[in-house]
């Protein structure tokens, strides 16, 4: 890897090291209940929203009511999005006259944006009207991230509070995340992106005659306003098919660097907020350190695999050496202005978070890099994960870690003074098993069904990786793809939609139930036998638990896909 590649990682790390603790401090006050910065600006807007919606912002909700509110909001906004994509041909702001999507594609797409997945079985520039993009997809980019934040914050309140069933108010947490966190970042970021060349207009696609006399049709659209929240809310659904490799979405290396920063910013800030909210910042540092090590390790690995020469391309006569005049490496499915190193950093960041935006084609990554992005999603979006969801994902692993530590010494485990008992552990197990069950069942069915096999594009073990990647990405609400697979079939649209719903609600509801159960408990004072969860030792244990649980679950399928492919490619076995 070149010096510039290392420097690129360093600048992202430094920017995050400055920004994430500051944003974390701000988040702690946004969700803390007292006065918060900017009350004078945001207060009137929020009060108007509460009044229009008939919500009492002081009203505390029991965990079940909190969960019902989340489900009701998800259900209603899903129906509205489904109607939007079906009826877009009859709605305004559709200058390119796109028709409504057919029912199964509309189902997959609506679920995809509801669940913060942004898996796309359609190509934006030839399918989605501008109104659908902004009032459908970009709107869900905001609220699906905000709903994740609400659940994360509810879990933190469950840990802090005692002898109550109440976790706060879902509507207030949802609104404040939108107005005070996401919208300000979006406004600044959108204008920055336009200044770099990201388009922001309401023009129809424009056909021009090129220099050599051919025709080329250039798309328009309100792209910058969607681009920023696509990254900052870890959504990942591109206005155009090529996503963040499209020059109108990501025109130059600077916009690319900012996109990587935005993808990581909020997820890395939440653990800092967590430490402050529980009154012990070390608890937050342990979480953030675990996330950071996993993200950095996987990102550097992908960068190293992609900047090294690909044996197949070398065989075919391509020069892949990094020199002063070319970046080299595996350039299939990559852009010259980004090069292989930036692709690796972006790929590690987009799969470690629940983003799924791509600035290079993941299907053409070398086998080990492809395996690493897949593994990164399999971690369950915890390094550092999505808005709020990364935090609750890692805290569930933390509960599992204290449980395992408790088993070793034969003592009832505690986390932040709350006893972790059978009720919580059952919910943790549901959380841990729901996603692998969906991925492995649907993948197995897909390689048995003739109709599903027809969607595979690449032969051999890579074909299996395409199928596994599709369900891993959807069930973990990531949304990136090994895009050779044709997902726009009845089978993949419906099973993918179900996988996304399982990956969203079979995790969120158990988390809220855990939060409700913990909130009722009276904390026990720490004793000599209490495992210190703000320590380096616990960091090691947590990291080990994440890697072991995920590794044991998925190693067989990774061995059959990327690992076999790597051996075939390297040794021609």
């Amino acid at each position: 890897m070149s010096a510039a590649a290392w420097a690129q990682v360093a600048i992202v790390v430094v920017a995050l090291a400055v920004a994430a603790p500051l944003l974390g401090r701000y988040l702690a006050r946004v969700y803390g209940g007292g006065a918060a910065p900017g009350d004078r600006i945001f207060g009137p807007v929020e009060r108007l929203i509460y009044r229009v919606c008939g919500i009492d912002p002081e009203g505390e909700q029991h965990w079940k009511v909190y969960a019902y509110s989340l489900l009701a909001f998800s259900f209603v906004s899903l129906l509205i999005l489904y109607a939007q994509v079906r009826l877009q041909g009859h709605l305004p702001l559709n200058p390119d006259h796109f028709k409504g999507m057919p029912p199964v594609l509309a189902f997959n797409t609506a679920v995809s944006f509801l669940t913060n997945t942004n898996w796309q079985n359609y190509a934006g520039e030839s399918t989605a009207a501008q109104l659908t993009q902004m009032a459908g997809f970009a709107f869900h980019n905001f609220v699906s991230a905000a709903a994740g934040a609400a659940v994360g914050v509810a879990l933190v309140r469950g840990l802090i509070r005692r002898r109550t069933g109440n976790l706060g108010n879902f509507w207030v947490d949802l609104t404040r995340t939108c107005t005070r966190v996401l919208l300000p970042i979006a406004i600044v970021g959108a204008l920055f992106f336009v200044s770099q060349g990201v388009v922001q207009n309401f023009h129809a696609a424009r056909t021009v005659t090129t220099v050599e006399g051919a025709t080329q049709t250039l798309p328009g659209g309100p792209v910058a306003s969607q681009e920023v929240i696509k990254e900052a809310g870890q959504n990942g659904g591109g206005p155009y098919n090529a996503n963040s490799s499209h020059p109108f979405e990501n025109p130059n290396p600077l916009s690319n660097g900012v996109q990587i920063f935005l993808i990581l910013l909020i997820p890395f800030s939440f653990p800092f907020a967590y430490g402050r909210m529980v009154g012990d910042r070390k608890q937050g540092y342990v979480v953030v350190a675990t996330m950071f090590v996993l993200w950095l390790g996987t990102s550097l690995a992908i960068m190293a695999f992609e900047t090294a020469p690909s044996p197949v391309l070398a065989q075919a006569g391509a020069s892949q050496a990094a020199t002063a005049t070319q970046s080299g490496g595996n350039m299939e499915g990559k852009e010259v202005r980004f090069g292989a190193a930036s692709c690796g950093l972006f790929a590690g960041s987009t799969t470690g978070t629940s983003t799924g935006a791509v600035n290079c084609a993941h299907d053409s990554l070398t086998p080990l890099a492809g395996g690493t992005v897949l593994l990164n999603i399999m971690f369950g979006e915890v390094d550092p994960g999505g808005t709020g969801s990364g935090l609750y994902g890692m805290l569930v692993f933390a509960l599992l870690a204290v449980f395992i530590a408790g088993l070793m010494v034969g003592r009832t485990p505690e986390y932040l003074g709350k006893k972790i008992q059978a009720a919580e552990m059952k919910l943790v197990v549901v959380y841990i098993l729901a996603v692998p069950l969906a991925i492995l069942t649907f993948s197995a069915a897909s390689v048995l069904l003739k109709a599903a096999l027809g969607s595979i594009f690449n032969p051999g073990p890579h074909g299996l990786s395409e199928v596994v990647y599709a369900f891993t990405s959807q069930a973990n609400n990531n949304g990136s793809a090994f895009a050779g697979l044709n997902g726009n079939t009845t089978w993949y649209n419906i099973t993918g939609g179900i996988a996304m719903l399982i990956g969203r609600f079979f995790l969120m509801i158990p988390v809220l139930a855990i939060a409700g159960s913990l909130a009722r408990k009276q904390p026990v004072p720490p004793s000599a036998g209490t495992f210190p969860t703000g320590s380096k030792l616990f960091f090691g244990l947590l990291l080990g638990v994440v890697i072991l649980v995920v590794g044991l679950t998925y190693f067989p399928v990774l061995a059959l896909g990327p690992i076999v492919e790597h051996l075939v490619g390297h040794f021609h076995v």
Partner: protein
């Protein structure tokens, strides 16, 4: 849950108005005021006619022009209504064959001896299919051909290549790149 449906409906509508309508409309207004050319797609005109966007690559086949990278967008490449990559897997035999064929064609076109390694960007398809740029190494190898076709000196062509090479922002981000459309327009202007 039924008691939550009405607030859910109201909240959906209120937030669509704020985040799905007011926000993008306001951003478009500001963007069109401050950065009109960029917000409209960085279009380039020649003799009063728009010939493309400086951000979006287009096909060039004539010898007096620099050629862009192979493109998987649409059937003939560089179709901006169908952006995308080849999605060929790293060990797919089709990939090896395609790249080998491209390398052969590139050597013939630019008068390079058989077996010369070809810059990797010249024989691989980009992620978007609309890559506006090629590497400096790729441009350097094409320069003699372009110079011959235009009766320019190689030095003159390389000077223009240098003028249309974007360096790394902040010295470290991304990679240097040569904008093919801008370079070709500058060549036409110069000669």
């Amino acid at each position: 849950m039924r008691r939550q449906l009405l607030p859910a409906l109201r909240m959906t509508i209120a937030l669509i108005v704020l985040l799905g309508l007011a926000y993008p409309l306001a951003m478009t207004g500001v963007a069109q005021t401050l950065f009109r050319t960029k917000a409209d797609g960085s279009l380039i005109s020649r003799n009063g006619a728009v010939v493309g966007s400086s951000l979006i690559g287009q096909a060039f086949a004539a010898p007096q022009y620099f050629h862009p990278r192979p493109s998987a967008a649409g059937t003939n490449g560089y179709d901006a209504t169908a952006s995308g990559a080849s999605n060929l897997g790293p060990t797919n035999p089709t990939l090896e064959q395609t790249v080998a064929d491209r390398a052969k064609a590139y050597r013939t076109e630019n008068g390079l001896p058989a077996g010369t390694p070809v810059p990797v960007d010249a024989v691989t398809a980009s992620a978007s299919g609309l890559d506006p740029a090629i590497s400096v190494a790729n441009a350097d190898l094409q320069a003699p051909r372009v110079a011959r076709a235009r009766t320019m000196t190689v030095e003159q062509v390389l000077t223009l290549v240098k003028a249309h090479t974007a360096s790394r922002p902040l010295g470290i981000l991304g990679e240097p790149s040569v904008n093919v459309l801008e370079l070709n327009l500058a060549l036409d202007e110069a000669h």
